[in-house]
């Protein structure tokens, strides 16, 4: 074979290879698009019939063919907010400790241990939450809380073990690893010069963190909180086991409720016809919420990382 031919052959083989791997990369985009298109298609009769009432309606009664998702959206937001309120101070504390304070020798094992928490399957969190954590929370925390602070609508009794609050606590434990991991990445990017400048001015360790580290990492930490919120919103099995399964909107977080993800998990296999379409529709709503949160959170983290790195 002539040398020129061989070069041409190699070049066209390279070209083919590039097209091949680009196709596979495009496949990732295609899968995401297909997810949205296919589920919307399946749920279309419900969207068409109920319109905006599907997300505004307060009544969910499959036996009467009435489908209003508001109680589930409410439950999803409330449980995720509780999780964020509990998990963020802890996660930022861990992230600061691991990047700025911990002795080099203990840093790596601690990082592994926090990651191990993320490796525990959701269903195991649920099993432990239902059988071990729930009765203890109910006896030692929720009951006294509603007895002492019951005059505040948020904690009005009687308290239930299966409640928004219990689901929120389980979710908080589950999202600590992701919020920690992303905050840690951003905090690690804070320039050394700033910390050294603060130290040179005689700042204490906390003042270094407060004046040099946290302001710089703030956008990234906000992003990590949003991604943690997104994770909590989509969490299914652990919540399904401890939420109580009653579609209601209450002021008290000590009442049983329901979330979008957990109602899909619990009702799908008993559903038929339009009920199934309504549950797929709930899935589309859940997907839309998590995509919005994730896009916003990722943009925050990307921008923060880029801003800090340059």
């Amino acid at each position: 074979m002539l040398r020129a031919d061989r070069t041409r052959l190699a070049r066209s083989a390279d070209r083919c290879f590039q097209v091949l791997v680009t196709t596979f990369a495009a496949l990732v985009l295609v899968v995401l698009g297909l997810m949205l298109a296919r589920t919307t298609y399946t749920a279309w009769p419900v969207f068409h019939r109920f319109g905006l009432d599907f997300v505004k309606g307060r009544d969910w009664a499959p036996s009467r063919d009435v489908f209003g998702a508001l109680p589930f959206i409410f439950g999803t937001v409330v449980t995720s907010l509780i999780a964020i309120v509990l998990a963020v101070p802890v996660s930022v504390g861990i992230a600061l400790y691991l990047t700025e304070v911990a002795p080099a020798r203990t840093r790596r094992p601690l990082v592994y241990l926090v990651e191990l928490l993320a490796a525990i399957p959701s269903v195991v969190f649920g099993l432990w939450g239902l059988i071990v954590l729930l009765p203890r929370l109910q006896d030692h925390v929720w009951t006294p809380l509603s007895a002492k602070l019951g005059f505040i609508p948020l904690f009005a009794g009687p308290s239930y073990g299966q409640s928004f609050a219990t689901a929120g606590v389980i979710l908080a434990i589950m999202i600590v690893p992701i919020v920690t991991a992303i905050s840690r990445e951003v905090i690690a990017l804070v320039p050394h010069e700033h910390k050294e400048a603060a130290l040179a001015l005689g700042a204490t360790r906390w003042e270094v963190l407060r004046l040099a580290v946290l302001p710089y990492a703030r956008a990234g930490i906000i992003g990590s909180v949003m991604l943690g919120f997104g994770r909590a919103v989509g969490e299914t099995i652990a919540v399904a086991l401890v939420i109580g399964g009653s579609p209601q909107i209450t002021a008290s977080i000590l009442q049983p409720g329901y979330t979008i993800a957990s109602v899909i998990a619990n009702q799908f296999n008993e559903a038929t016809g339009i009920h199934i379409q309504a549950l797929v529709g709930l899935g589309v709503v859940l997907f839309a919420i998590t995509i919005l949160i994730n896009v916003a959170g990722r943009l925050f983290v990307w921008r923060a990382a880029r801003g800090l790195a340059s």
Partner: protein
């Protein structure tokens, strides 16, 4: 710090307590969960549990989770076979050609996809495959897990491929080796152990998932053949979920034992993946 005023010192102390307390807040639940699963699960783990199918009633004692264990092994094998080539080739694109707008879009979408709720992936595969074929099946469950693994594999593999030194690629290209052969003979083999790590972490994540299997693989009381993917199939997380909900102590005991098996599987994968990753980084640095 003798010159530091009292208030500043107190603030510093409070901050230290907060940070150390936060670490404890994460480690205590971890220890409690692992300890409790080991304590409750160990009692029932036996050859019977690992080799027999579940009994016909929740209230019956004995029996085991073999149908779920075998189902999980089948599902994650096929999910890996599907997601590994796609994810790794997409990662090759990102690391070898990945500049410009399209690559940024792929990276961004992949990141966003890791945040898609796993239950939604189940709903998607249900609507795409189960509704079309008219029945639940193991292969639809495996596909749901593959979709879940895809973004994890892609991003993990890209990180690893980017670590392969430029000089290696350049040396190969300078010798006149075509780019595609450079990828297969130089880049991928150099990154092999890192790719294995990325895959194992994705498998560990998929093995523990319940939500995507609820209405795809569905569950099956009977043990199915290794190559039979047309029937509904059980999985370890599905059995744990159902028995945890059952309200019968006999079933819940099996759920604890199943949780121990599942955690052992997931932790072995995770720790082994980390171990491989550390050994590799020591060798190349």
């Amino acid at each position: 710090m003798s010159g530091v005023s009292g208030r500043r010192r107190v603030a510093d102390r409070v901050a230290s307590v907060w940070m150390l307390g936060s670490v404890l807040c994460a480690l205590v639940p971890l220890a409690f969960i692992l300890g409790y699963v080991a304590y409750k699960g160990a009692g029932l783990i036996s050859w019977t549990f690992l080799s027999q199918s579940e009994p016909f009633s929740f209230t019956e004692r004995g029996g085991g989770f073999w149908n779920g264990i075998k189902g999980t092994l089948k599902l994650i094998t096929v999910a890996t076979l599907v997601s590994a080539p796609v994810g790794i080739l997409a990662a090759v694109y990102l690391s070898e050609y990945g500049r410009g707008r399209f690559a940024t879009a792929v990276r961004f979408v992949t990141d966003v996809m890791t945040g898609v709720p796993s239950i939604f992936v189940g709903v998607f595969i249900y609507s795409l495959i189960v509704l079309e074929t008219g029945h639940f099946s193991a292969w639809s469950g495996a596909l749901a897990l593959a979709v879940l693994m895809l973004p994890i594999v892609t991003r993990g593999a890209e990180e690893v491929l980017k670590l392969v030194p430029r000089e290696l690629r350049e040396a190969s290209l300078a010798l006149g080796v075509p780019h595609w052969r450079t990828v297969f003979r130089i880049v991928l083999p150099t990154a092999a152990s890192g790719l294995v790590t990325a895959l194992m972490l994705a498998v560990a994540r998929a093995a523990g998932e319940t939500a995507p299997l609820l209405f795809t693989s569905f569950g099956n009381r009977f043990v199915t053949g290794w190559t039979d993917f047309n029937q509904p199939d059980s999985a370890l997380p599905l059995l744990i979920f159902r028995d945890a909900r059952s309200a019968y102590s006999t079933a819940q005991e099996r759920a604890w034992a199943g949780a121990l098996v599942l955690i052992a599987l997931v932790l072995v994968l995770t720790i082994a993946a980390r171990f491989i990753a550390t050994r590799r980084s020591v060798r190349t640095v």
